[in-house]
């Protein structure tokens, strides 16, 4: 394995992690429009907090997918064609979520706006749920042929681990969203968000225990990467506790950092557990690994140069877009801006 292959494996993981961390908050906010918000105005307030950022956050997914295609095309091709219908439903959810912001802005009546808020809600629930399924499906042994084609059965897609994976990621995004709302709103909803998060964290522990059991039975993580898997799992439990305590005590920044770390650790768990393979075949001879999935050294060099130039620039203006627009929004601000728009 070359250094560049390793670097791109890391970068793909980083981009997916950033997608789940940043857009995860948007999904959580979308879910909060029904779970947290008690009325229409609060729901609109919640969506307003993510309004300027969600489309930029979503680009991390496009960048992750594009990098996968560019740096490890065999992985991209096998995974995306193998889990065809799962990815299709992810797309449908992404499409409904994606148009809901603009469409609800344009809908004339409250009923019309509400319709698109529901679209946002369902999109926000299903995107992390289905991605959670995909990430936990792809770490299991898969029926593959020598060309890397995956012929999934229903059981390869829907199984205990993947359902738990879906629940885990959905719950994590909800925590992330609640912490984000606590950081970006003023008024009662700010405290409700923290309180709700700290209560919902009780759900996390039983799910985490079940995930560990399912991981043991359905993946080879404990055989191939015993120490790192155990360490990462322990850290996940630790950051969950951290998140619960800080949201209960009103340390909003820390709570956001805690759920951010949990999501990052989840991606680390998967990417470390797979390493150096990408897709484990039932017939070990057909397994796709970083080495045989990667692009040529020339392409990797080109992509590395491009990434080295562009990523720092993106980091600067992307961070600026968050910092320059950071302010707590209250229900009163919403009334003021509505009259102007």
């Amino acid at each position: 394995m070359s250094l560049l292959q390793l670097l791109w494996y890391f970068l793909i993981g980083l981009l997916f992690a950033l997608f789940l961390i940043l857009d995860g908050a948007d999904f959580g906010a979308g879910m909060s429009t029904r779970f947290l918000a008690t009325n229409y105005d609060e729901a609109a307030l919640v969506l307003r907090t993510i309004g300027p950022h969600w489309s930029g956050n979503e680009v991390f997914l496009v960048a992750a997918g594009g990098s996968m295609f560019a740096a490890m095309p065999m992985w991209y091709a096998s995974l995306f064609s193998g889990f065809y219908l799962l990815l299709f439903f992810i797309l449908v959810a992404l499409i409904f979520r994606g148009v809901s912001f603009e469409f609800s802005e344009n809908a004339e009546t409250r009923k019309g706006r509400n319709r698109w808020m529901w679209a946002n809600f369902f999109g926000s629930v299903f995107i992390p749920f289905l991605f959670g399924m995909l990430f936990t499906d792809m770490i299991q042994r898969l029926p593959m042929d020598g060309q890397g084609n995956i012929y999934v059965s229903l059981l390869n897609v829907i199984n205990p681990l993947s359902v738990l994976g879906g629940i885990t990621l959905t719950a994590l995004c909800l925590y992330q969203g609640l912490h984000y709302i606590a950081l970006h709103t003023a008024g009662l909803i700010r405290y409700h968000a923290s309180a709700m998060a700290s209560n919902l964290y009780w759900l996390a522990y039983p799910v985490e225990i079940l995930v560990v059991i399912a991981l043991y039975f359905q993946t080879n993580f404990f055989e191939t990467h015993l120490i790192s898997t155990v360490v990462v799992l322990a850290l996940i439990v630790a950051t969950t506790i951290w998140g619960q305590i800080t949201s209960a005590t009103g340390h909003e920044v820390q709570a956001y950092l805690a759920s951010t770390s949990t999501i990052a650790l989840l991606v680390i768990l998967i990417f470390v557990g797979l390493f150096p393979n990408l897709l484990n075949a039932e017939n070990p001879a057909h397994t796709i690994s970083i080495v045989n999935a990667s692009s040529s050294p020339y392409t990797l060099v080109v992509m590395t140069i491009v990434a080295c130039i562009l990523l720092p620039i993106i980091a600067i203006y992307f961070t600026w877009s968050y910092i320059s627009q950071f302010h707590r929004i209250s229900l009163k601000d919403m009334e003021d801006t509505n009259s102007g728009y």
């Binding site: 930029g56 960048a63 295609f69 560019a70 096998s78 995306f80 065809y84 299709f88 499409i95």
Partner: protein, 479 residues
């Protein structure tokens, strides 16, 4: 899943056509509208006249709707190369992935970040800085076209690659060659001009409809003139670039060129141009030809002599060249009627648009504005709103169907590109769901755009009347 006697390949092709055509309704629309909105906001930043601020906010509503639909349907594109065309992705990943990833890093981040800033900083940033945000969105979306077309150009005309003897996959040997691919520099400006035509005529056509309905005539006259100016310049630009592209095609992809002109037999110098025909692609001949002498040479070579190689001769050459590698059963004829008529609709449509733009600019000039009385023109311009969508689609049909039977010209036939693991049943299922999904998006998008239009400048909080006919002015008394 279900086996209905259907095979995956045609279904995957139908789905690709369905998703790309629908996506490409909104891509040129948002690129074009982004430029027009940026121009309007720049006018405001420079002149500080409130009408331009109202214009910016008014047209941005329609722009943002198209942007939203363009982005979500673009996600499909990113996924479907892997989902439906996994063997293509394996063959081309080393080359195709790089521009796609760069597109995301260079273009999508730029446009998506700054559109978020732009939408929420109307009152926070000074007009000049705020206008800069929308210019960044425009550059982001225009640059994205460059990268995706770099990938497409490789498929039309592969350069800077070698074939890996072990795997048979294409490997990149020169990134510079891929970026300097001649095909790309014919395609890219043509597509950008096409996008500006789209944006220009949407603004002009929608404005013309409102002028026809006698609502806020001055506001919409000004909007229409901006739209028509951009539209007219862009139509001229797309003619020039399209003309260059055809000349290039005539020797680079002679099959596509001959099919677009409907010529099975060689045409001797001086070559006549076929205006109408019915092609029988399978029998390699055409009926009902109506020809105009010399016109082919004038249009293609810009002189009065020159011959054209027909499809039949090219077909024989291609068989000779590729029979060993790809077998005798390859069919090198593209669907001739599709190409022939798509090309004519595109070119003829552009002429009509140029004519309407000149008329519109003439009748709406400030000195002698009679556009409110030219009901025929405003109605025609309204219909022309939808023209660019058809024209763009026809252009892509020529380019993409003209590459048949290749997905990567001379390297990979379409039949070998499809995902082996997908089933016909699942692709049929997704085609149907996409259809209803797109219909829903299209209907709502149109409905909301129409609603925004009918609210006029009042919809963005401007209650100025914008009426040219001041009841107390001199002209009003004289009437």
């Amino acid at each position: 899943m279900l086996n209905l006697g259907l095979s995956v390949l045609p279904l995957a092709r139908i789905q690709f056509a369905e998703t790309t055509i629908f996506h490409f309704f909104f891509v040129p629309m948002s690129i074009g509208l982004a430029l027009i909105v940026a121009i309007m906001e720049t006018f405001y930043a420079v002149t500080k006249k409130p009408i331009y601020k109202t214009m910016t906010r008014f047209w941005s509503k329609i722009f943002l709707l198209s942007f939203a639909v363009g982005v979500v349907t673009g996600l499909i594109q990113e996924f479907q190369f892997g989902m439906n065309w996994s063997d293509y992705s394996r063959f081309m990943g080393d080359i195709f992935g790089a521009p796609l990833a760069i597109e995301a890093l260079l273009a999508f981040f730029l446009e998506s970040t700054f559109i978020g800033v732009w939408m929420f900083t109307w009152d926070k940033l000074k007009p000049g800085w705020h206008a800069l945000m929308i210019w960044l969105v425009f550059f982001g979306s225009a640059i994205s076209a460059l990268w995706i077309l770099a990938a497409n150009s490789f498929m039309q005309h592969p350069v800077g690659y070698r074939i890996d003897p072990k795997t048979g996959h294409a490997l990149m040997t020169s990134f510079a060659a891929i970026l300097t691919n001649k095909q790309l520099w014919y395609e890219f400006p043509h597509v950008i001009f096409g996008a500006l035509v789209t944006g220009g005529f949407i603004v002009a056509g929608a404005s013309a409809w409102m002028i026809f309905r006698k609502k806020w005539p001055e506001f919409f006259r000004k909007s229409m003139r901006i739209g028509l100016t951009v539209g007219l310049i862009a139509v001229c630009g797309s003619f020039l670039t399209g003309d260059q592209q055809m000349l290039y095609l005539s020797h680079q992809q002679p099959m596509k060129f001959a099919a677009a002109e409907g010529e099975f037999q060689n045409v001797k110098s001086p070559a006549s141009w076929t205006a109408v025909e019915i092609a029988h692609t399978n029998e390699h001949k055409a009926d009902f030809k109506i020809e105009i002498p010399y016109l082919m040479d004038i249009l293609t070579y810009h002189k009065l002599s020159g011959s054209v190689t027909g499809m039949n001769e090219t077909n024989a050459k291609l068989h000779k060249k590729w029979n060993k590698q790809f077998g005798k059963n390859m069919n090198y004829y593209p669907p001739v009627n599709t190409l022939f008529y798509s090309f004519r609709i595109m070119a003829f449509g552009a002429v009509v648009l140029a004519f309407l733009a000149i008329c519109g600019l003439w009748f709406s000039r400030k000195k002698k504005n009679t556009i409110g009385k030219q009901w025929w023109l405003t109605l025609l311009l309204t219909v022309a709103t939808f023209g660019p969508f058809i024209i763009n689609t026809c252009g892509w049909l020529v380019t993409e169907r003209g590459r048949d039977p290749w997905v990567v010209y001379g390297l990979l036939p379409i039949a070998k590109a499809v995902s082996p693991s997908t089933t016909a049943g699942s692709v049929l299922f997704t085609i149907i769901i996409y259809f209803f999904l797109f219909a829903t998006l299209g209907v709502f998008m149109f409905m909301y755009a129409r609603k925004a239009l009918y609210k006029g400048p009042e919809g963005v909080g401007d209650h100025e009347s914008y009426d040219t006919e001041d009841p107390f002015s001199k002209e009003a008394f004289e009437k």
